[in-house]
Symmetry: C2
Subunit: 114 residues, 2 copies
DNA sequence: CTAATATATTCATTTATAGGAATATAGTGC
DNA sequence: GCACTATATTCCTATAAATGAATATATTAG
Protein backbone atom coordinates (compact mmCIF):
# COMPACT_ATOMS: atom_id res chain seq x y z
CA UNK A 1 0.00 0.00 0.00
CA UNK A 2 2.71 2.46 0.97
CA UNK A 3 4.70 1.74 -2.16
CA UNK A 4 1.64 2.34 -4.30
CA UNK A 5 0.79 5.60 -2.56
CA UNK A 6 4.36 6.80 -2.98
CA UNK A 7 4.12 6.40 -6.73
CA UNK A 8 0.73 8.13 -6.87
CA UNK A 9 1.92 11.02 -4.73
CA UNK A 10 5.15 11.34 -6.69
CA UNK A 11 3.16 11.70 -9.91
CA UNK A 12 0.69 14.20 -8.43
CA UNK A 13 2.90 17.21 -9.07
CA UNK A 14 3.22 18.80 -12.52
CA UNK A 15 6.92 19.53 -12.18
CA UNK A 16 7.65 15.94 -11.26
CA UNK A 17 5.69 14.65 -14.23
CA UNK A 18 7.64 17.07 -16.40
CA UNK A 19 10.87 15.60 -15.03
CA UNK A 20 9.72 12.11 -16.00
CA UNK A 21 8.82 13.27 -19.49
CA UNK A 22 12.18 14.99 -19.92
CA UNK A 23 14.08 11.93 -18.75
CA UNK A 24 12.33 9.94 -21.47
CA UNK A 25 14.44 11.94 -23.91
CA UNK A 26 17.79 12.04 -22.18
CA UNK A 27 19.80 11.51 -19.04
CA UNK A 28 20.01 14.84 -17.24
CA UNK A 29 21.85 16.47 -14.38
CA UNK A 30 20.15 18.68 -11.82
CA UNK A 31 21.20 21.99 -13.33
CA UNK A 32 19.83 21.01 -16.74
CA UNK A 33 16.46 20.22 -15.21
CA UNK A 34 16.59 23.45 -13.27
CA UNK A 35 17.08 25.37 -16.50
CA UNK A 36 14.24 23.52 -18.23
CA UNK A 37 11.74 23.88 -15.38
CA UNK A 38 12.81 27.35 -14.32
CA UNK A 39 12.54 26.66 -10.62
CA UNK A 40 15.16 26.90 -7.88
CA UNK A 41 17.81 24.20 -7.65
CA UNK A 42 16.80 23.00 -4.19
CA UNK A 43 13.26 22.47 -5.45
CA UNK A 44 14.56 20.26 -8.23
CA UNK A 45 16.60 18.22 -5.75
CA UNK A 46 13.58 17.75 -3.54
CA UNK A 47 11.40 16.60 -6.42
CA UNK A 48 14.09 14.17 -7.52
CA UNK A 49 14.29 12.68 -4.07
CA UNK A 50 10.55 12.04 -4.04
CA UNK A 51 10.73 10.44 -7.47
CA UNK A 52 13.67 8.30 -6.44
CA UNK A 53 11.97 7.22 -3.24
CA UNK A 54 8.98 6.07 -5.30
CA UNK A 55 11.25 3.99 -7.53
CA UNK A 56 10.67 6.15 -10.59
CA UNK A 57 14.19 7.46 -11.19
CA UNK A 58 17.73 6.44 -10.33
CA UNK A 59 20.97 8.44 -10.34
CA UNK A 60 24.63 7.89 -10.91
CA UNK A 61 27.28 10.23 -9.64
CA UNK A 62 29.80 11.37 -12.20
CA UNK A 63 32.30 13.62 -10.50
CA UNK A 64 30.52 16.77 -9.48
CA UNK A 65 27.51 15.86 -11.55
CA UNK A 66 24.64 13.64 -10.61
CA UNK A 67 23.03 12.09 -13.63
CA UNK A 68 19.40 11.14 -13.31
CA UNK A 69 17.56 8.68 -15.51
CA UNK A 70 14.34 6.73 -15.45
CA UNK A 71 14.36 3.65 -13.26
CA UNK A 72 13.89 0.24 -14.88
CA UNK A 73 10.97 -0.44 -12.55
CA UNK A 74 12.57 -3.30 -10.65
CA UNK A 75 12.20 -1.37 -7.39
CA UNK A 76 8.42 -1.08 -7.67
CA UNK A 77 5.88 -2.78 -9.93
CA UNK A 78 3.69 0.31 -9.64
CA UNK A 79 6.52 2.52 -10.83
CA UNK A 80 7.25 0.08 -13.63
CA UNK A 81 3.68 0.18 -14.87
CA UNK A 82 3.30 3.96 -14.67
CA UNK A 83 6.63 4.55 -16.36
CA UNK A 84 5.47 2.29 -19.17
CA UNK A 85 2.21 4.15 -19.56
CA UNK A 86 3.87 7.53 -19.40
CA UNK A 87 5.87 6.66 -22.48
CA UNK A 88 2.79 7.34 -24.57
CA UNK A 89 0.60 9.28 -22.15
CA UNK A 90 0.71 13.09 -22.33
CA UNK A 91 2.71 12.98 -25.53
CA UNK A 92 0.47 15.51 -27.23
CA UNK A 93 0.26 17.82 -24.22
CA UNK A 94 1.38 21.34 -25.07
CA UNK A 95 3.04 21.89 -21.71
CA UNK A 96 5.43 19.04 -22.39
CA UNK A 97 5.94 19.76 -26.04
CA UNK A 98 7.26 23.15 -25.02
CA UNK A 99 9.74 21.77 -22.55
CA UNK A 100 10.92 18.97 -24.80
CA UNK A 101 11.59 21.60 -27.48
CA UNK A 102 13.82 23.40 -25.05
CA UNK A 103 15.74 20.27 -24.24
CA UNK A 104 17.96 20.30 -27.30
CA UNK A 105 19.16 23.79 -26.47
CA UNK A 106 19.87 22.96 -22.86
CA UNK A 107 23.38 21.63 -22.65
CA UNK A 108 25.26 21.24 -19.43
CA UNK A 109 28.39 22.64 -21.04
CA UNK A 110 26.63 25.99 -21.31
CA UNK A 111 25.04 25.87 -17.87
CA UNK A 112 27.84 24.49 -15.79
CA UNK A 113 31.13 26.17 -16.53
CA UNK A 114 34.34 24.41 -15.63
CA UNK B 1 -2.15 16.88 -17.92
CA UNK B 2 -4.89 18.00 -15.57
CA UNK B 3 -6.87 14.81 -16.11
CA UNK B 4 -3.80 12.73 -15.37
CA UNK B 5 -2.97 14.67 -12.22
CA UNK B 6 -6.55 14.31 -11.02
CA UNK B 7 -6.29 10.53 -11.19
CA UNK B 8 -2.91 10.51 -9.44
CA UNK B 9 -4.14 12.81 -6.69
CA UNK B 10 -7.35 10.85 -6.28
CA UNK B 11 -5.34 7.67 -5.72
CA UNK B 12 -2.90 9.33 -3.30
CA UNK B 13 -5.13 8.84 -0.28
CA UNK B 14 -5.45 5.50 1.52
CA UNK B 15 -9.18 5.87 2.19
CA UNK B 16 -9.87 6.54 -1.46
CA UNK B 17 -7.87 3.51 -2.54
CA UNK B 18 -9.85 1.48 -0.03
CA UNK B 19 -13.08 2.73 -1.60
CA UNK B 20 -11.88 1.57 -5.01
CA UNK B 21 -10.97 -1.86 -3.63
CA UNK B 22 -14.35 -2.19 -1.93
CA UNK B 23 -16.23 -1.22 -5.07
CA UNK B 24 -14.44 -4.04 -6.86
CA UNK B 25 -16.56 -6.36 -4.74
CA UNK B 26 -19.93 -4.66 -4.78
CA UNK B 27 -21.95 -1.56 -5.49
CA UNK B 28 -22.19 0.44 -2.28
CA UNK B 29 -24.06 3.38 -0.84
CA UNK B 30 -22.40 6.10 1.24
CA UNK B 31 -23.46 4.77 4.61
CA UNK B 32 -22.07 1.32 3.84
CA UNK B 33 -18.69 2.80 2.99
CA UNK B 34 -18.85 4.94 6.08
CA UNK B 35 -19.35 1.80 8.19
CA UNK B 36 -16.49 0.00 6.47
CA UNK B 37 -14.02 2.87 6.67
CA UNK B 38 -15.11 4.13 10.07
CA UNK B 39 -14.82 7.78 9.15
CA UNK B 40 -17.43 10.57 9.21
CA UNK B 41 -20.07 10.63 6.50
CA UNK B 42 -19.08 14.03 5.08
CA UNK B 43 -15.54 12.73 4.64
CA UNK B 44 -16.82 9.79 2.62
CA UNK B 45 -18.88 12.12 0.42
CA UNK B 46 -15.89 14.33 -0.19
CA UNK B 47 -13.65 11.41 -1.10
CA UNK B 48 -16.30 10.14 -3.49
CA UNK B 49 -16.52 13.49 -5.18
CA UNK B 50 -12.78 13.51 -5.79
CA UNK B 51 -12.93 9.98 -7.18
CA UNK B 52 -15.85 10.87 -9.40
CA UNK B 53 -14.15 14.01 -10.65
CA UNK B 54 -11.16 11.90 -11.64
CA UNK B 55 -13.39 9.54 -13.61
CA UNK B 56 -12.82 6.61 -11.28
CA UNK B 57 -16.34 6.07 -9.96
CA UNK B 58 -19.89 6.84 -11.05
CA UNK B 59 -23.11 6.93 -9.09
CA UNK B 60 -26.79 6.33 -9.62
CA UNK B 61 -29.46 7.72 -7.38
CA UNK B 62 -31.98 5.25 -6.10
CA UNK B 63 -34.49 7.06 -3.96
CA UNK B 64 -32.73 8.27 -0.89
CA UNK B 65 -29.72 6.17 -1.65
CA UNK B 66 -26.83 6.97 -3.90
CA UNK B 67 -25.20 3.84 -5.26
CA UNK B 68 -21.58 4.16 -6.21
CA UNK B 69 -19.69 1.81 -8.50
CA UNK B 70 -16.46 1.77 -10.43
CA UNK B 71 -16.47 3.78 -13.65
CA UNK B 72 -15.95 1.97 -16.93
CA UNK B 73 -13.06 4.26 -17.75
CA UNK B 74 -14.63 5.98 -20.70
CA UNK B 75 -14.29 9.36 -18.97
CA UNK B 76 -10.50 9.12 -18.65
CA UNK B 77 -7.95 6.78 -20.19
CA UNK B 78 -5.80 7.28 -17.09
CA UNK B 79 -8.63 6.20 -14.84
CA UNK B 80 -9.32 3.24 -17.11
CA UNK B 81 -5.74 2.06 -16.92
CA UNK B 82 -5.39 2.47 -13.17
CA UNK B 83 -8.72 0.79 -12.51
CA UNK B 84 -7.52 -2.13 -14.57
CA UNK B 85 -4.27 -2.40 -12.69
CA UNK B 86 -5.97 -2.06 -9.33
CA UNK B 87 -7.93 -5.21 -10.02
CA UNK B 88 -4.83 -7.24 -9.23
CA UNK B 89 -2.69 -4.69 -7.41
CA UNK B 90 -2.81 -4.65 -3.60
CA UNK B 91 -4.82 -7.87 -3.53
CA UNK B 92 -2.57 -9.40 -0.88
CA UNK B 93 -2.42 -6.26 1.24
CA UNK B 94 -3.55 -6.92 4.80
CA UNK B 95 -5.24 -3.53 5.12
CA UNK B 96 -7.61 -4.39 2.31
CA UNK B 97 -8.09 -8.02 3.23
CA UNK B 98 -9.45 -6.78 6.56
CA UNK B 99 -11.95 -4.41 5.00
CA UNK B 100 -13.10 -6.85 2.35
CA UNK B 101 -13.77 -9.38 5.13
CA UNK B 102 -16.02 -6.82 6.77
CA UNK B 103 -17.95 -6.23 3.56
CA UNK B 104 -20.16 -9.29 3.77
CA UNK B 105 -21.37 -8.27 7.20
CA UNK B 106 -22.09 -4.69 6.16
CA UNK B 107 -25.61 -4.56 4.80
CA UNK B 108 -27.48 -1.38 4.21
CA UNK B 109 -30.63 -2.91 5.66
CA UNK B 110 -28.87 -2.96 9.03
CA UNK B 111 -27.27 0.48 8.69
CA UNK B 112 -30.08 2.49 7.21
CA UNK B 113 -33.32 1.86 8.98
CA UNK B 114 -36.54 2.64 7.22
C1' DC C 1 -47.70 20.15 4.51
C1' DT C 2 -44.36 17.91 8.35
C1' DA C 3 -41.07 14.46 10.05
C1' DA C 4 -37.43 11.50 9.17
C1' DT C 5 -33.45 9.77 6.63
C1' DA C 6 -29.44 9.62 3.22
C1' DT C 7 -26.30 12.39 1.20
C1' DA C 8 -23.93 16.86 0.05
C1' DT C 9 -21.94 21.28 1.20
C1' DT C 10 -19.94 24.82 4.08
C1' DC C 11 -16.88 26.32 7.54
C1' DA C 12 -13.05 26.19 10.75
C1' DT C 13 -9.00 23.80 12.13
C1' DT C 14 -5.29 20.96 11.52
C1' DT C 15 -1.88 18.78 8.76
C1' DA C 16 0.79 18.04 4.64
C1' DT C 17 3.12 19.83 0.58
C1' DA C 18 5.66 23.17 -2.55
C1' DG C 19 8.54 27.09 -2.96
C1' DG C 20 12.60 30.05 -2.11
C1' DA C 21 16.70 31.67 0.73
C1' DA C 22 20.39 30.33 3.24
C1' DT C 23 23.48 26.76 4.51
C1' DA C 24 25.84 22.29 4.22
C1' DT C 25 28.07 18.57 1.73
C1' DA C 26 30.86 16.47 -1.81
C1' DG C 27 33.84 16.44 -5.59
C1' DT C 28 37.49 18.90 -8.51
C1' DG C 29 41.64 21.54 -9.39
C1' DC C 30 45.31 24.03 -7.66
C1' DG D 1 45.43 22.78 2.72
C1' DC D 2 42.06 26.51 -0.20
C1' DA D 3 38.80 28.07 -3.83
C1' DC D 4 35.21 26.73 -6.77
C1' DT D 5 31.17 24.22 -8.45
C1' DA D 6 27.14 20.85 -8.39
C1' DT D 7 23.99 19.00 -5.53
C1' DA D 8 21.61 18.17 -1.01
C1' DT D 9 19.58 19.68 3.30
C1' DT D 10 17.51 22.83 6.54
C1' DC D 11 14.48 26.40 7.69
C1' DC D 12 10.69 29.34 6.95
C1' DT D 13 6.51 30.76 4.64
C1' DA D 14 2.50 30.17 1.63
C1' DT D 15 -0.67 27.23 -0.32
C1' DA D 16 -3.32 23.00 -0.63
C1' DA D 17 -5.56 18.94 1.30
C1' DA D 18 -7.93 16.14 5.11
C1' DT D 19 -10.92 16.11 9.05
C1' DG D 20 -14.96 16.98 12.03
C1' DA D 21 -18.98 19.80 13.36
C1' DA D 22 -22.75 22.10 11.79
C1' DT D 23 -25.86 22.99 8.18
C1' DA D 24 -28.23 22.33 3.75
C1' DT D 25 -30.47 19.54 0.19
C1' DA D 26 -33.29 15.86 -1.51
C1' DT D 27 -36.21 11.98 -1.14
C1' DT D 28 -39.68 9.22 1.17
C1' DA D 29 -43.54 8.40 4.44
C1' DG D 30 -47.34 9.98 6.59
Amino acid sequence: MKAFLKVMRALSDPNRVKIIKMLQHKVMCVCEMQAALQIAQPSVSKHLKILEDAGLVIFHKDGMWVNYQLADGSASPYAASLLGNLRHWLEDDSEFAEIVEKLSSIRREDLCRR
